[in-house]
Symmetry: C2
Subunit: 200 residues, 2 copies
C-alpha cells in the first residue's frame, strides 16, 4: 500500500473547500488514502507576511469571480459566508479531538463543517455550531464541546500548525504526495499527474 496523501487546509479557505470535494476520489483512483490536516492560515500568514486573499486589491476581485467560476466547472455549490473571514479554531480543534477517537468520523465531520460554512452560510467559528455539526453525525454535544476546550486538544492543534509551517505549508489547500508539496486547488491536475506517472 503506497503512502497516504496529506491534505492540509484551513476551514476558512474557499479553495480548501473546493479541493475537499475532490481529494478523496482523486487519491482513491490511484490506490491512495488521504490524511486530512486542518491548519490555521492566520498563524501561517504571520510567518509569510501574506494577507487574506479576498482583501488584496485587484486579486480579491479576481478571486471572488474565480471562485464562482471554478466551482461551476467542478459542479460544486459555493457561497461566501455572511461572516467572512472567520476563525477556524473551533472546527479545527473539533477535528483533532474527533480524530483521536475515530479518524473516519473526523473526516466526515470536516466535510460537513466545510459544507456548513461554504454551502449553508453557517458560522462555524462558533463552538455551538460546530457541536451541532457533530451532533448530526452522532457525536454527543456536551462531550464534543468539552473536548474542544481540553488543553490536550488546544495543544494538538498548535503542534499540527507548527509542524505544517516547518514542512513549508504556506497556503490552503496544500497537498503532499511522496514528499512533494502542491499548493492550490488549481494544482490537483499536477497531483493527479504525479500519482499517474509516479513522479517526473
Amino acid at each position: 500500500m503506497a503512502a497516504p496523501i496529506e491534505f492540509f487546509f484551513d476551514f476558512s479557505s474557499p479553495y480548501g473547500f473546493l479541493a475537499a470535494n475532490r481529494i478523496d476520489d482523486l487519491a482513491a483512483r490511484h490506490g491512495r488514502s488521504v490524511v486530512w490536516r486542518p491548519v490555521l492560515l492566520g498563524a501561517v500568514f504571520k510567518v509569510s507576511g501574506q494577507q487574506p486573499l479576498l482583501e488584496i486589491p485587484l486579486k480579491g476581485d479576481y478571486t471572488k469571480h474565480d471562485l464562482a467560476r471554478f466551482a461551476r466547472l467542478w459542479g460544486v455549490q459555493i457561497a461566501i459566508p455572511p461572516i467572512f473571514p472567520f476563525s477556524s479554531v473551533a472546527p479545527s480543534r473539533g477535528f483533532y479531538w474527533l480524530e483521536a477517537r475515530d479518524q473516519a468520523l473526523a473526516v466526515r465531520f470536516a466535510k460537513a463543517a466545510f459544507a456548513a460554512a461554504w454551502q449553508q452560510g453557517r458560522d462555524i467559528s462558533k463552538s455551538d455550531v460546530v457541536a451541532d455539526i457533530g451532533a448530526a453525525l452522532g457525536v454527543a454535544r456536551e462531550d464534543f464541546l468539552a473536548g474542544m476546550l481540553e488543553p490536550a486538544t488546544k495543544e494538538k492543534l498548535r503542534q499540527e500548525v507548527d509542524a505544517a509551517i516547518k514542512r513549508g505549508v504556506f497556503g490552503s489547500p496544500y497537498i503532499v504526495v511522496d514528499g512533494e508539496g502542491f499548493w492550490g486547488a488549481d494544482r490537483l491536475w499536477q497531483v493527479e499527474e504525479w500519482l499517474k506517472r509516479g513522479g517526473w
Copy 2:
C-alpha cells in the same frame, strides 16, 4: 474568426515564461490567435501591495522548487537568471516599438527575450542585450536602441500597463479569453477547457 486571446505577462516572471511556451499552440488548437501584452508587475504590485513571489517567506522556497518541477513536466528548460529580480522595462519597450512595425516579429522577439533571460541567463534589463536579441532577428541595432528611447514608445508602455491594471491584471501570466481573465500558468487547463466548451 473568434476573438484573439490576450496574453499579459512580465518578462521577469518565470511563470510568464512557462506559459509563453504553450499559449500559441493552445490557442491554435481552438482556432484562436494570441495578442501578446508585456506589462510591468512592479507597477501592478504598487496597486495591489503584493511582493515579488520569490521573496515571500515559505512561498519563495516553494516557488523555486515548483518552477523546476513545473518546467520538467512541460519539458521546458529553465534557470533563474544570475541577476534576479530584474527590470523588464527595456524588453517591454522593445516589444511595443517592434509591434508598431511588425506584430509577428514582436512576438518572435518576445519569445527570444524570454529564452535569453530564462534559459541563457542573459541580463535582458540592459538595452544592449535587448538590441542583440533584436539584431539576431534582423532588427537594425541602432534603430532599435533609438526606438526604445522614443517618447512615444515610453508612453505606449505606460498606457498598456495602465490599461492592464484597469482591466484587473494583477499577476503574470494573466490570460483573457472572451472577457474572462485567468491568472497563472497553472490555469492554462481552465483556459483550454473554456475554449473547448465555449465557456461554462
